[in-house]
């Protein structure tokens, strides 16, 4: 069996609500190999973060319910792990950068104290470290993220730093002990575009240097285009399209991917498309068919009743849409001849 670093199989993560289960993540399949960079793109509320929180098992157990699925990290199922094994994974193997740096840092401890905690937590089994060693490692980590004067920063409280600095500290904390997998959940979203650019460049450089695998979660197609090798497009808890970055931008197949690309305002001008009709579906009573069907311009009868399976169109390019099954090709051609939607 070929070994992936992380292999998510048919993962379903639901939330308990008073109306019933909100079926947020609904059968996600995702693999990443060591040292690779992938991106998950989707609108807010489509289950990107829930998927990744399931991987780290940090969902609130009282609210979350995972009826099905496996998350294999180096062939070990994370969902079946005992707490001690789980700690081991969090300690050594996977780390995460969250969207809001000011919420990720504790306001009542100094940055230094928080970095020391990460270091001593991650290296607990090895030789215990003294203060001097901790400081050396922390200072090196802060230097790696290009913050000047690291000695002073260690003594600072988070509120004394700017948003960009805080996010840099979060990156430093995530990478201070080399990990095999880094999950970055919209690391630049809360920041200005010039700072976002710097953070992304930094992240890419560090990930390349340390040979860490990266899962980048974002809502911005532009960001994944610049950062990752392979893109998973997610809509309403389903992966709808997977392709390498070049392929996806050259030849987007799923109607949602196309719609999303049309919506992005272009620097080259040319106006703005009409947007995608409708809203993200109700997760408590989702449609039995394709979850994009209520918004899809090409919707057919079968889309409403049956879930499309992932279909490999090209090598490494899969899409979950009935338009690309054999029985639909004929109708598809007719549509093409009528012309794409304006």
């Amino acid at each position: 069996m070929n070994e992936h670093l992380l292999d998510i199989r048919n993962l379903k993560s639901w939330y308990r609500t008073y109306q019933g289960y909100a079926q947020v993540v609904d059968g996600v399949n995702l693999t990443i190999d060591a040292g690779k960079k992938i991106g998950i793109v989707g609108e807010s509320g489509c289950g990107k973060t829930t998927t990744m929180k399931s991987v780290l098992r940090v969902l609130d157990e009282r609210k979350a319910y995972l009826p099905e699925g496996e998350i294999l990290f180096k062939n070990q199922n994370i969902l079946k792990m005992r707490e001690t094994e789980l700690q081991q994974i969090r300690r050594k193997n996977i780390s995460m950068i969250s969207q809001e740096p000011s919420a990720a840092l504790n306001p009542v401890f100094t940055v230094g104290q928080q970095i020391f905690d990460v270091i001593s937590y991650s290296t607990q089994d090895d030789t215990a470290k003294n203060k001097k060693e901790l400081t050396d490692i922390a200072i090196k980590a802060i230097r790696d993220v290009f913050i000047p004067d690291p000695e002073r920063i260690l003594e600072c409280y988070p509120h004394q730093l700017s948003g960009g600095m805080k996010q840099r500290i979060c990156i430093a904390m995530a990478l201070v002990i080399p990990r095999e997998l880094l999950i970055a959940d919209e690391p630049g979203t809360a920041l200005d575009v010039t700072i976002q650019d710097q953070i992304h460049r930094l992240l890419r450089a560090l990930v390349d240097e340390k040979q860490t695998a990266l899962i980048m979660i974002t809502h911005s197609l532009g960001v994944v285009r610049e950062l990752v090798d392979q893109i998973y497009v997610m809509y309403a808890g389903n992966i709808v399209e997977v392709a390498t970055t070049n392929e996806l931008f050259k030849n987007p197949l799923h109607p949602y991917t196309r719609g999303l690309m049309d919506c992005v305002p272009r620097l080259s001008g040319g106006g703005i498309s009409a947007g995608i009709y409708g809203y993200v579906p109700d997760y408590v009573h989702p449609t039995p068919g394709c979850r994009f069907s209520p918004r899809c311009p090409y919707v057919k009868e079968i889309c409403r009743v049956q879930k499309p399976l992932m279909l490999e169109i090209d090598e490494g390019h899969t899409v979950a849409c009935f338009r690309y099954t054999d029985s639909f090709t004929e109708q598809h051609r007719q549509e093409e001849s009528i012309g794409e939607r304006a």
């Binding site: 200005d192 010039t194 809502h219 931008f249 620097l267 703005i272 809203y279």
Partner: protein
């Protein structure tokens, strides 16, 4: 579409702002040595009737402060604001009722700008009543019309803001702004909290209304690619000062200020065509300094890759390098 609009723009200034300064005292500092946050520090611009002026800048550059000052929510330290040729600041900073009718604002976060305890009908009724747009017995009909204008179904009148989505809330805010039949609307990042598919819808609605109702917009955003597609002119702000103003096309094809170039080069784009528009060899560095201690000379010199000796000593003046294209840089 944009080019067409530029030609048809009538050259009459609806709003002009002259040497506007808005300072906020820093709390806790001693009275004798008062320190100020110089949020807006000498800003001049004007908006022609029928125009969409884009005001772009990073957070903390003073974009929203300008908007709030025009609306009368902040008191300026210095400067004048002329609306249709009349100084709106002279009357003890109180805005006249006719100004309030003609000028409306749409805020960034519709979640906090709509009262959650009122239903949409009550929210939309208030401006209709205050400005006496319709008589009392026609209020419900007018609310319906207001919803029609933004293409929301009429049964929305009985929903509360908490029960509708973010995009719909923003449409309600736009409907509310349009209730008083304004001439000029300030849009303060109306789509920055929304997804791109919803953003596209809101923007199209705003452009449609702009044409239908003959409106003028001051559009504040930090998204330069969005600005490219909607505005007729773009002004860029940094630390309370405007760095560059130009017609949209010129702004994106021939940016002159190093800050504009840096901003443009940091935008993540999705096609090769756009990639070519980005200025090459400009790498974004540094962060926006604190507006309490603004660097001497040109405030951008701490992050500028082209700075020369004079930049740290003397603040450059705004110069017109070609018709309609103003740059505040020693090198331009």
């Amino acid at each position: 579409m944009n080019e067409l609009k530029q030609q048809t723009t009538v050259d009459s200034k609806i709003l002009s702002v002259k040497n506007l300064r808005v300072y906020f005292p820093v709390e806790g500092s001693k009275k004798s040595a008062h320190k100020y946050v110089k949020a807006v520090d000498g800003v001049d611009f004007f908006i022609n009737e029928g125009e969409i002026l884009g005001l772009v800048g990073e957070s903390g550059s003073g974009k929203s402060t300008i908007a709030y000052t025009i609306m009368g929510m902040n008191k300026p330290k210095e400067g004048s604001i002329l609306f249709k040729g009349e100084d709106i600041l002279k009357n003890n900073d109180k805005r006249s009722i006719s100004f309030k009718k003609d000028v409306q604002i749409v805020f960034q976060d519709p979640g906090s700008s709509l009262n959650p305890f009122q239903d949409i009908r009550q929210i939309l009724k208030l401006p209709l009543k205050v400005h006496k747009i319709v008589s009392k017995n026609q209020l419900d009909e007018a609310v319906g019309k207001a919803l029609d204008r933004v293409e929301l179904p009429r049964n929305f009148a009985y929903k509360t803001p908490t029960s509708i989505g973010g995009g719909e809330k923003q449409l309600v805010s736009i409907a509310r702004a349009l209730c008083s039949e304004p001439k000029f609307i300030i849009l303060d990042e109306p789509t920055s909290s929304l997804d791109v598919s919803i953003q596209a819808k809101i923007i199209n609605m705003l452009l449609k209304l702009h044409d239908e109702q003959k409106l003028t917009y001051l559009f504040i955003t930090h998204d330069l690619s969005l600005m490219r597609n909607i505005s007729t002119r773009v002004a860029i702000m940094y630390l309370g000062k405007i760095c560059e103003v130009a017609p949209t096309k010129t702004f994106y094809t021939r940016p002159l200020h190093p800050y504009t170039q840096m901003l443009l080069s940091s935008i993540p784009v999705i096609s090769e065509e756009e990639e070519e528009l980005k200025p090459k060899k400009v790498v974004s560095v540094g962060e926006i300094p604190s507006p309490v201690d603004i660097p001497t000379g040109c405030s951008f010199h701490t992050r500028c890759n082209k700075k020369i000796d004079i930049c740290s000593q003397k603040d450059p003046f705004m110069r017109e390098v070609e018709p309609g294209h103003f740059v505040r840089c020693h090198l331009a």
